[in-house]
């Protein structure tokens, strides 16, 4: 059903769409990294599309990707030189009941992607999650901080080269001075 969306995307944004495909009933459009915001804005504002409801953002790390059998996605038909990360945006149109997944290929050396948090506010936290787990920086995001892990955490836990057994406990440093208790009679101005 949402093949219509893929056709409309190819017709209106021919230069921005690298590839479209349907896998297991899910429609996927590979979008050029520079054109993501333009395509997303068009999908939201175009009356025949009206993708008003965001679903999720996640990232696929293809570092260890050695599928058995023939890869289904045409993007992976030739495996050489493909960027390591794929940022996936799943969108839903409540009016037309379309669903589509936008994919952006992001290379390891330049792990950046445009933020869609300004278009759909739901992506605010979800992009922070993707940043926290995969280390993709979203340009234009209002508040690019870690969300699940603590700020002192080193590395990105869901990357394939982060070992599962690795532990990074956040421990209190006992060698730091504790707040001295105020001496009796000292002025107590601060509250």
């Amino acid at each position: 059903m949402a093949q219509k969306v893929l056709d409309a995307l190819k017709a209106n944004h021919a230069s921005a769409i690298e590839l479209t495909e349907s896998l297991f009933g899910d429609e996927i459009a590979w979008v050029k990294r520079d054109s993501l915001v333009a395509v997303a804005t068009w999908l939201r504002d175009e009356p025949t599309m009206q993708f008003d409801s965001p679903v999720f953002v996640t990232v696929i790390d293809r570092l260890d990707w050695h599928p058995t059998g023939v890869p289904l996605s045409a993007h992976w038909s030739d495996e050489s030189g493909k960027p390591r990360f794929e940022v996936c945006y799943q969108l839903r149109s409540s009016t037309h009941r379309y669903r589509i997944r936008l994919k952006v290929a992001v290379p390891e050396q330049d792990a950046r992607c445009a933020s869609l948090a300004g278009i759909w506010s739901a992506f605010d936290w979800q992009e922070r999650e993707a940043f926290d787990m995969y280390g993709i920086t979203f340009d234009g995001h209002p508040d690019m901080r870690r969300i699940y892990m603590y700020d002192e955490f080193v590395g990105y836990p869901l990357r394939k080269d982060y070992p599962k057994e690795k532990r990074q406990p956040l421990v209190r440093r006992d060698d730091l001075p504790i707040n001295p208790i105020k001496a009796p009679g000292a002025p107590h101005g601060d509250r």
Binding site: F24, L72, S94
Partner: protein, 420 residues
């Protein structure tokens, strides 16, 4: 210097005062500047897993920073290292008040990749819908009961937890575990329903209906309850859509979206039920929507009990089903197949799919990338609680600190699901 006061009065002994005799710093007015205070994670209303850094102007919240993550247990990383069957216990611990729906969602996601969707025995589909709807009831009963308790209505909490316990006991009979069921398998369910299940469930539903009448009498027109809920934490329809809200929160705001109706799966097209939709989008509408969904779940369950056919509880497909125990012990082929199935896991062909079901809190989705081995290459859960919690900062803005409690209660943030 202020006039000395009667220091024997206990009321005047303020914590932190250096000298009880010195009353020179007694303030007659509150300080006019903004104050930053910390709420949670060890706070009963924060469910023990969320921290909010609030900036308040007196009692009014002007800025808030909601910080989840205190219950992060690496669901996705662990799933990448477990076989597809071994992930079921992890999904139990996502939304731990409705684990069956998570089980069903994961099983459906794997079945979609294996091309099994729609080919399961009818009895499997009915059993899955029955346990899912029972789980939805436990979810809503917990949410409403706990929210009422946080507003002081302890009776409603005890009554609803009593009803929830009846459902848990029944689910325990079905699966063997009270809370973490791990009952669903790829291609079917672990075992058939127990004897006399339909009488037990009918009796439980009848009793639950009586409890609901009592609780509704207590809450619906209760002045305290309505004053605390009505007009608090409202979302408009457009806001609910743009923030990605689903489930009771979005429906309370007027978004007519229910996965069971809009993208029907399993045997939901064969049963009759309505989707309640609210108008104001505030906490009171969320409460009403949840109460109505409880009634609709009871309606679905009664129909399922009438319509459920006999038949196998596992699809007859050697890729996903274990060989019969008798063969495993007696023939070498079946033993090898059993061994490979357990050790290597179910082999899912390479591909990727997003599958979603209507969870207790809305669209619960699993996005799996498979590489042809027995373990998922990537498993992502689209947890509704995480999306809903991201609106919390917007919802509590300009409300009083006391309003955080009902807003948080009706968001029904489940720590395990939110923090993954």
């Amino acid at each position: 210097m202020a006039a000395p006061r009667d220091v024997t009065s206990l009321k005047q002994l303020v914590l932190g005062r250096q000298d009880v005799q010195d009353m020179s710093d007694t303030e007659t007015e509150l300080p006019p500047d903004l104050m930053t205070i910390n709420m949670g994670p060890s706070h009963p209303a924060m469910h023990g897993t969320v921290r909010i850094v609030l900036t308040v102007d007196g009692e009014r919240i002007v800025k808030s920073d909601v910080q989840p993550g205190y219950l992060h247990r690496c669901f996705e990383k662990e799933s990448e290292h477990a076989t597809y069957t071994q992930v079921f216990p992890y999904t139990d611990r996502l939304n731990y008040v409705s684990p069956m729906i998570n089980n069903v969602g994961w099983a459906m996601a794997v079945e979609k990749l294996m091309g099994l969707t729609g080919n399961l025995p009818k009895r499997v589909e009915y059993i899955r819908v029955i346990v899912s709807e029972m789980s939805r009831m436990t979810d809503h009963l917990t949410c409403i009961g706990a929210s009422a308790m946080e507003l002081g209505a302890f009776t409603a909490f005890l009554y609803f937890l009593k009803a929830r316990e009846w459902l848990y006991e029944l689910l325990e009979k079905v699966s063997g575990a009270r809370l973490t069921h791990s009952y669903v398998r790829v291609g079917g369910v672990a075992k058939d329903l127990p004897d006399n299940f339909d009488q037990d469930l009918t009796h439980t539903l009848d009793s639950t209906v009586k409890v609901m009448v009592e609780v509704e009498d207590m809450l619906n027109n209760n002045k305290i309850f309505r004053d605390r809920m009505a007009g608090i934490g409202a979302l408009t329809k457009a806001q609910a859509l743009a923030t990605g809200c689903v489930g009771p929160i979005a429906r309370a705001a007027g978004v007519d979206y229910d996965v069971r109706k809009d993208y029907p799966y399993s045997i939901y097209p064969e049963v009759e039920f309505d989707v309640p939709v609210g108008t104001t989008g505030d906490c009171y509408d969320r409460y009403l929507v949840r109460v109505e969904e409880l009634k609709q779940s009871i309606r679905i369950l009664r129909q399922c009990l009438k319509q459920i056919p006999d038949g196998p509880t596992m699809v007859d497909d050697p890729r996903v089903s274990l060989p019969p125990k008798r063969d495993t012990y007696n023939t070498i082929e079946s033993m090898i197949r059993h061994f490979k199935h357990i050790v290597d896991g179910i082999r899912v062909p390479a591909g990727e799919a997003y599958t979603f079901v209507e969870g207790g809190n809305g669209e619960l989705g699993f996005y799996i990338v498979a590489d042809g081995t027995g373990r998922p290459y990537k498993a992502y859960v689209r947890s509704p609680s995480f999306v809903h919690l991201s609106t919390a900062s917007q919802l509590i803005h300009n409300h009083l600190i006391a309003d955080i409690v009902p807003i948080f209660g009706m968001i029904n943030m489940i720590g395990g699901e939110c923090d993954k």
